[in-house]
């Protein structure tokens, strides 16, 4: 990242933290203003609604322009050159907007950066195709490495974490495609995770790059679990994570897969508890759910409804118990953990819950078939859950 952008990013992180403190009532309005004056913003930013609009409309304009330019030529190499040039032009625009124009969180420069990454990736694919290289495993692996490099470069230069996640995804898939790819990947994640964990907290990196390191680490750990899960190995379900490029089993004993399916979630969760890292706590929990689902796939001990109701009530009890446990500690904390919100904005999660609630929790539709002779087959609008299941 450019030095000026990096400094602006650090100041923005302090202002955002001060806003959280203000929301929590820890500082008053005057203190908040004083912090804003101490850490002024020299970037041109937009609010979330305008950001989304600018992003979508800029992408629409770029797609239109690129489409018109490529329609002028029939030769595939010329089209590939146009797409690559468009990608490089967009990269230049991103540099201009984030540099001299001092734009950040504005939507337009993010759209240009996305167009740049897509342009370069598609251009590379078109050139390969035109050169007549067959899309065998080696070419595909090379492409994936190249994609990972381009995405990683975009994340490093512009500080957008989604590109870091994309780079991790392409990187993991390409390593999985190598001979003994799973073992290589396990070794790579073990070697890199410490660096990435340190990077996600490092004071030498600006907040955007710390977020990128966190995103990279998250995808690496998810890819690790997807690659070693025994159900994925047996049923080829790893392809669900790795898209079209389902990695071959290679040299990877099944017993090791079983052990890792069972052990990885508690290990990750334990790291989260010991190091007080929410990312590891959440990933450990998510992996534990997947491991229990895997276990349920092989051992049908109880019917599904018992599993759902039992686990639902268990989670409810666990949440209530955890809250009480933490609240009962001295100062409402235990081992460095607390159930208090500590200034986090609860509106974001509440809004998400309302959306998910509308989509999934609208009551089902009764189907009184026998007596009235009518059948309900779901609402036409409004009721996402109106599926006629009852």
């Amino acid at each position: 990242m450019r030095t000026d952008a990096s400094n602006a990013d650090r100041k923005q992180a302090v202002r955002e933290t001060a806003r959280d403190w203000s929301r929590a009532g820890w500082i008053d309005e005057n203190a908040f203003r004083a912090i804003e004056n101490l850490y002024p913003d020299d970037r041109v930013r937009s609010g979330p609604a305008f950001r989304i609009l600018f992003f979508a409309l800029t992408l629409g304009a770029i797609a239109g322009a690129a489409g018109i330019a490529s329609l002028m030529f029939r030769d595939q190499l010329a089209i590939a050159a146009i797409v690559l040039s468009a990608g490089l032009l967009c990269a230049g625009m991103t540099e201009y907007l984030t540099g001299p124009q001092r734009r950040r969180q504005g939507g337009i420069e993010a759209a240009f950066s996305l167009a740049a990454v897509i342009g370069v990736l598609v251009g590379l694919l078109l050139v390969t195709d035109k050169l007549g290289l067959s899309m065998d495993q080696h070419t595909l692996t090379l492409h994936l490495f190249a994609f990972a490099f381009v995405s990683g470069l975009a994340a490093w230069r512009w500080g957008y974490w989604p590109y870091a996640a994309l780079a991790a995804y392409f990187g993991s898939t390409s390593i999985f495609m190598l001979p003994a790819g799973r073992l290589l990947w396990i070794a790579a994640v073990l070697a890199a995770s410490r660096c990435l964990t340190m990077g996600s907290d490092s004071p030498t990196l600006p907040p955007s790059l710390r977020k990128s390191a966190t995103a990279f680490l998250t995808v690496c750990l998810l890819a690790l679990y997807a690659g070693v899960n025994v159900l994925g190995l047996d049923q080829g379900l790893s392809g669900l994570f790795f898209g079209l490029w389902s990695p071959s089993a290679g040299f990877f004993p099944r017993w090791m897969s079983i052990v890792m399916t069972a052990m990885l979630p508690p290990v990750i969760f334990a790291i989260g508890v010991i190091k007080r890292r929410r990312l590891f706590l959440n990933l450990g929990f998510l992996m534990a759910i997947c491991s229990f689902a895997t276990l349920r796939f092989y051992f049908h001990i109880v019917p599904p409804w018992t599993v759902f109701i039992g686990s639902g009530l268990l989670l409810f009890a666990a949440a209530a118990g955890l809250r009480r446990f933490l609240d009962s500690g001295e100062g409402g904390e235990r081992g460095g953990f607390t159930a208090a919100s500590l200034g986090e904005d609860p509106r974001k999660q509440r809004g998400m819950e309302e959306l998910v609630g509308i989509a999934t929790l609208t009551p089902g539709v009764a189907e009184p078939v026998q007596k009235s002779g009518m059948r309900g087959s779901g609402g036409e609008f409004g009721g996402g859950g109106a599926s006629g299941d009852f």
Binding site: R277, G312, L326, E354, G357, I358, G382, F390
Partner: protein, 321 residues
């Protein structure tokens, strides 16, 4: 961890912006020595509700013959009553204004009770058909009951589900019961969607003006406009004059919404309105039949013009980052 804040806090304390006691707490948070799991606990509660209601759905669907419908209805009903009575016991006194939740799990306990009650009523309707040919009315009953509970216990989540259940009731009634009244099926669903949307927007306005749970207004208004614009967007694909009429309606409604939200600084609704106008413009471009390159050129020009207009609007609206 937040190393930048950790570096800044001692300076804030030195300048007297924050007290030394407060600074030590904030420093612990910034250094990662004190970590909140508030969001994780809420997520656990929410997952608990989702999994339990899914399990109840499976139980009803697959096992009611083995266990018996009366037993199932009684057991689910008892579960709902238990959850709701526990929530009632812990609830704050009623107020038309926003009341703080008595505990972290309260909202989820209430949600679980409401969903179990809804599932129970649906099960009773299918098994014992008390409403006969008017079976979709049970959704209206559930919706009204949910709305009452949402108002009494101040739950926006339950309120949003009450509104979506109401919309589901209209959709089902039109599709199955009121076919003779509404001649064309697709059009009638669209009209009902529009009607529901307008009703929700008016309800939102009433909530604010009457100072009756004004913090519920965003839920009603956003869902209302979503239904209105969704209904109009679904019509622009129609052929001939019908499609043109819907395009005109969509652009007019979108422009009206954007203008109203512009003056009221409602950023989310403003984005809804602008998107609607953009979709209407794209719909018109495709209807005009200019050829592929013509379509692309028009989309590009429309996007650039809208960006320019938004640029001006942004300066006046000043949306917080």
């Amino acid at each position: 961890m937040n190393p930048d804040a950790a570096k800044a806090i001692p300076e804030f304390a030195r300048r007297g912006i924050i007290s030394r006691e407060r600074a030590s707490l904030l420093l612990r948070i910034a250094c990662g020595d004190l970590v909140t799991v508030h969001r994780e606990i809420r997520l656990l509660f929410y997952l608990g509700v989702l999994l339990t209601t899914t399990g109840v759905g499976l139980l009803v669907q697959r096992n009611y013959r083995h266990i018996g419908p009366v037993t199932i209805a009684v057991v689910i009903g008892a579960g709902a009553v238990a959850c709701l009575s526990l929530a009632a016991k812990r609830a704050q006194p009623f107020s038309w204004m926003e009341t703080p939740s008595p505990s972290l799990g309260f909202d989820y306990l209430l949600l679980l009770g409401v969903l179990l009650a809804g599932a129970d009523l649906a099960f009773i309707e299918i098994q014992f058909t008390p409403l006969g040919a008017h079976w979709p009315w049970h959704l209206l009953i559930v919706s009204v009951l949910m709305a009452c509970i949402a108002v009494r216990y101040d739950s926006r989540t339950v309120f949003s589900i009450a509104l979506s259940t109401f919309a589901a009731w209209r959709g089902l009634s039109v599709s199955f019961i009121e076919k003779p009244v509404w001649l064309a099926s697709e059009e009638s669903v669209r009209m009902n969607s529009l009607g529901c949307g307008v009703l929700f927007v008016l309800l939102g306005s009433f909530l604010v003006r009457g100072k009756k749970k004004p913090h519920f207004e965003p839920v009603a208004v956003h869902l209302g406009w979503f239904l209105i614009l969704g209904a109009l967007v679904s019509g622009i694909g129609g052929g001939g004059a019908e499609g043109i009429v819907y395009i005109a309606l969509l652009s007019t409604t979108g422009a009206f919404l954007a203008w109203r939200s512009y003056s009221g600084r409602r950023f989310g609704l403003f984005a809804f309105g602008v998107f609607a106008v953009y979709l209407a413009a794209i719909g018109l471009v495709f209807k005009a039949g200019l050829g592929f390159s013509g379509d692309l050129a028009c989309i590009m020009i429309t996007s650039v013009v809208l960006i320019a207009l938004l640029w001006k609007a942004q300066k006046k609206m000043k949306e917080p980052v």
